[in-house]
Symmetry: C2
Subunit: 199 residues, 2 copies
């Protein structure tokens, strides 16, 4: 029972990510990961029941890596909701820009996995939408934002900022004007959110 | 000099599109098009100096197919700018949805060509941005929209509606809720455009 280094899910996922970085998504299988760790397939299967489960877990871990930073921004009630909304949207973009800069090949590999494992991507979006809804609900509660349905408004804001967070637009995130572009969209959306009832 | 059917650019482009529809972008070459028309390569080269020129022209024709319909909506001063902006954005989406519905394989082929010939795509976007700027300038002139720079505002509106016109999101355009989603984004943007100066 006692092993030299106890094999846990974290060790397996770190090894899987290293394989993704070096060889892309095709080689990210239980067999390859077990070989890289020098353990039996069975040992890895004990933590991840299938190739599918392993790939979902590693993708989820990657997508959620910036989630806590974002959650802190979303929940920081010391910052007025309008300012918080803008900061949060910029942080979403900055997190993705950093991921590309640090490891472009890993970003590409995860892009393929996120597209293939749509439940993981859907959960990630739901999580981000929850954070956005919380900011907008705070703005509605303090009277700064005019909305009867924070969740619907959060969806509209999320859809209106797709260019700044959807992987399909990753090629545009290194454009020199991208932060200004996001700022302009934020300003327009905030004007809409903060508008008094129209005549 | 007189031929049985005079070969013109339109005939060549129609034949090129037929090849795209049946075989995809790889076969859309001067040689293949000449063969399909039963003419010499030289006859086609007289109209399109290279494979590149032929592909750009056919892509431009496809991208611009709905442009006149959109231009009419953009220029219709009988319709108030706010209503016109919403109608125009819906027409952009509807035009693309119709293209997919009518010929999905052609849509895919043109998507590849548009990505490969970025000047054509850039010109198309510039044309759409010009129409959008005209609507917004009309709204600024009649006092309905508050903007000092119609072109910058048009860019922000275009960026905020990327999900509803960028080819990367084509897979989402058949979602049952897509028109409502666009409507919600339009409403938020219009609230922002129509807002009185914020306190």
């Amino acid at each position: 029972m006692p092993a030299r280094t106890p094999l846990d899910a974290d060790i397996i996922l770190a090894a899987t990510e290293e394989i993704l970085r070096r060889h892309g998504p095709d080689k990210a299988t239980v067999v390859d990961v077990a070989r890289a760790l020098g353990v039996s397939h069975a040992a890895v299967y004990k933590h991840f029941a299938s190739k599918q489960a392993l790939r979902e877990a590693v993708t989820r871990r990657w997508l959620d890596r910036t989630r806590d930073t974002l959650a802190v921004i979303a929940a920081d009630r010391a910052v007025p909701p309008a300012q918080r909304l803008r900061a949060w949207l910029h942080a979403v973009l900055a997190g993705k820009q950093a991921k590309i800069r640090e490891a472009p090949e890993l970003f590409a590999a995860y892009g393929i996995l996120a597209a293939a494992h749509s439940t993981v991507a859907t959960d990630h979006v739901a999580d981000l939408l929850g954070q956005l809804t919380a900011i907008i609900a705070d703005g509605a509660a303090d009277g700064g934002f005019r909305t009867g349905d924070a969740e619907a408004t959060a969806r509209a804001v999320f859809h209106a900022t797709v260019r700044f967070h959807h992987l399909a637009h990753a090629g545009e995130w290194q454009n020199p004007g991208i932060d200004t572009d996001l700022d302009d969209v934020c300003s327009l959306l905030l004007e809409g959110l903060q508008a008094p009832a129209s005549p």
